[in-house]
């Protein structure tokens, strides 16, 4: 309620001070201001999640080896003996200065570890997204253009199948079946970029394709549904009536408008793909954020868990911001409203 009020006051103030700006710039600024409360709420969740739940983190971290004094020492070191709101603002201050604390186990700086692992996950997710878009949009278009044909049924069933097969099983099959049939197994040891740049990129192909399958299915379904909607519009009928080519009507007049909602779900897709990396990176031995998170959870390494969660959520908020901006570029109605 308070946040809603703050947001509406902020918006009101925008309107006052931004009157001189172009509509596009005003839109950009408004989106930026809305992103700030989202980030703050997200940081609050990241911070309180481990603290809200029953059980003492310190007790869990030291297991049975702990004595009373050790517990107190660790609590003091982590700042857990101070009131929760003090802890939150202290942590937020550290984050603002670029420090995410250090791992409880390796004693390395969390920010440094994240910087090292981020490129792996970014490349993997980016390749998965590209893969998903490249297969989803053409199939979605083909299915929509011939709606309720055999081709449409096959495409839709395949999409639902893609959503249904768990990524970890697909990964298992990809490793297992070629081994049984041809005695070939994909390489699951990590090659650094410096060692062999080509091999470095190639090793992401298989995991990225597996990660992309579920997203591709979702994007395909949305593309089909949106394109069907657009194909029913009057201006499309006009385009047909002008005697335009099917390709021009579908690709130039319809697809461009149908893709606008598809762009907006790319932000959500990224969150999903990140979920997938937790499992896929472990299976394929890629030293990225997902695997780091999983290991940290097994070891109850709270500063690491908080750091990764904060980074991922910030990335998603920023990505949604970029998607919103992209949205404005694609759809003039948003730019000028």
């Amino acid at each position: 309620m308070v946040l809603g009020h703050v947001a509406s006051v902020a918006q009101h103030r925008d309107a006052e001070t931004l009157r001189g700006l172009t509509p596009m710039k005003r839109y950009l600024l408004k989106r930026l201001l809305v992103a700030i409360p989202s980030l703050l709420i997200a940081s609050l969740i990241v911070f309180t999640l481990p603290r809200l739940l029953p059980g003492d983190a310190v007790q869990l971290m030291l297991e049975e080896k702990a004595y009373g004094k050790d517990l107190d020492d660790l609590r003091h070191k982590l700042g857990l003996d101070r009131p929760v709101y003090t802890q939150y603002f202290h942590w937020l201050g550290d984050v603002a200065r670029g420090s995410l604390g250090e791992s409880l186990w390796t004693k390395r700086a969390v920010a440094e570890e994240l910087r090292r692992r981020l490129p792996v996950t970014m490349l993997l997710s980016a390749m998965a997204t590209v893969f998903a878009v490249l297969i989803a949009i053409p199939i979605g278009v083909l299915a929509a253009v011939r709606a309720d044909s055999l081709r449409d049924y096959v495409a839709r069933s395949a999409a639902i199948l893609g959503l249904s097969v768990p990524g970890f099983w697909l990964a298992t099959l990809v490793i297992l079946l070629p081994a049984i049939w041809w005695g070939w197994t994909p390489n699951v040891s990590f090659t650094e970029f410096g060692q062999d740049p080509a091999q470095h990129v190639l090793q992401f192909l298989l995991p990225a394709a597996i990660l992309g399958v579920a997203s591709a299915a979702g994007i395909m379904r949305l593309t089909r549904a949106m394109l069907l909607e657009v194909l029913r519009q009057d201006y499309v009928r006009t385009a047909w009536a002008k005697g335009l080519d099917e390709g021009v009507v579908v690709l130039k007049h319809s697809l461009k408008n149908a893709l606008i909602p598809v762009v907006t779900i790319l932000g959500i897709q990224f969150a999903q793909i990140f979920s997938g990396t937790v499992i896929i990176e472990s299976i394929f031995g890629l030293p990225g954020l997902g695997r780091f998170l999983f290991d940290a959870i097994l070891q109850r390494d709270y500063p690491v868990i908080q750091g990764i969660n904060l980074l991922v959520v910030s990335m998603i908020v920023v990505l949604n911001l970029i998607v919103d901006l992209f949205y404005a570029v694609l759809d003039p109605r948003i730019r000028y409203s």
């Binding site: 946040l3 969740i45 999640l49 768990p166 970890f168 099959l173």
Partner: protein, 307 residues
């Protein structure tokens, strides 16, 4: 004119002749108009039979080692082969369906109760409450789902109840948003005004007018959500945060021994995955078809992934 009368009379006569009950005819119409949905429904039915009747369907108990039958390939004696502890895989897959169905239905029931309460109240009360609830849902949904659940499970510890609790909160968040939308559109109807004019109280309006009209949406969300929950449960079990052994969960069967023996006994890593895929596929197909029939407004939204 005469034609008109006949045209009206005919269906009435047809109805009198029919001996098939109305519900069965509805099912038959559904199968004819939505063949893909019917296939999904059949898969779901088979899975439910396996889960409920596991004690009769499975030839062996799920944890019984059969002497001298270690890692047998699929054949006449053991349909799907045996695992590294000489247990019959067909029996374990059948009992695995019970785990998936139990977790799935418990989670969906709890999740949908929360989602319906939050969604309807958010739409009905509106104002600052609605705003606050929606912001929390937004923030919640911007997290990758596995990250939330793993974080919760890490602290709560593995176990059936914790699994159901954390999964249902996740399902509730995304469903509450959709139910709120449905409730908002129901509230635009003139009968809402009529109810208010008759002097109905808030509780009566919500229970008698809003709730029954969003039930179609809830049923569709629950069906598609079941697929999503089964998928999420298997992922968590695969990572070791699911149902504890020796109880057979499909996800857990694919990790651990399923992976370490997969080159010597590939069938161990095959059937549980097929079980998950078929089950989720069935619920998704059925949910999709139900959505087209019950609630066409939802077309183009949702999918298997919980979000």
């Amino acid at each position: 004119m005469a034609n008109h009368v006949e045209a009206i009379a005919q269906p009435r006569a047809a109805r009198r002749e029919s001996v098939i009950p109305r519900s069965a005819r509805a099912v038959m119409t559904f199968c004819r108009r939505k063949p893909l949905g019917a296939v999904g429904g059949a898969i779901v039915l088979v899975m439910l039979v396996m889960a409920v009747g596991a004690d009769w369907v499975a030839p062996y108990p799920y944890d019984q080692s059969i002497a001298g039958a270690r890692m047998r390939p699929p054949g006449a004696e053991f349909w799907l082969g045996t695992d590294n502890l000489s247990r019959d895989l067909w029996s374990r897959v059948v009992y695995g369906a019970r785990v998936s169905v139990t977790v799935g239905f418990a989670t969906i029931t709890l999740g949908m109760l929360i989602a319906t309460a939050v969604g309807i109240s958010s739409a009905y009360i509106g104002g600052g409450y609605d705003m606050a609830v929606q912001r929390v849902v937004d923030a919640w949904m911007s997290f990758p789902y596995l990250v939330i659940i793993l974080s919760i499970m890490a602290v709560l510890g593995p176990g059936l109840l914790n699994l159901i609790l954390s999964l249902s909160i996740l399902i509730a968040a995304s469903s509450a948003r959709v139910i709120r939308g449905a409730a908002l559109s129901v509230m635009q109807n003139p009968y809402m005004e009529a109810a208010r004019a008759m002097g109905s109280g808030h509780l009566r309006i919500v229970l008698r007018y809003v709730l029954p009209n969003v039930m179609a949406t809830v049923i569709v969300l629950a069906t598609i959500g079941l697929g999503a929950v089964i998928l999420a449960e298997s992922s968590l079990s695969f990572l070791g945060f699911g149902v504890p052994p020796p109880y057979p969960s499909w996800g857990a069967m694919l990790s651990g021994s399923g992976r370490s023996y997969m080159f010597r006994a590939p069938w161990m890593a095959l059937w549980p995955g097929l079980g998950i895929s078929l089950a989720v596929f069935g619920f998704n197909m059925l949910g999709d078809a139900l959505r087209d029939v019950l609630d066409p407004r939802l077309r183009g939204t949702g999918g298997a992934q919980p979000r």
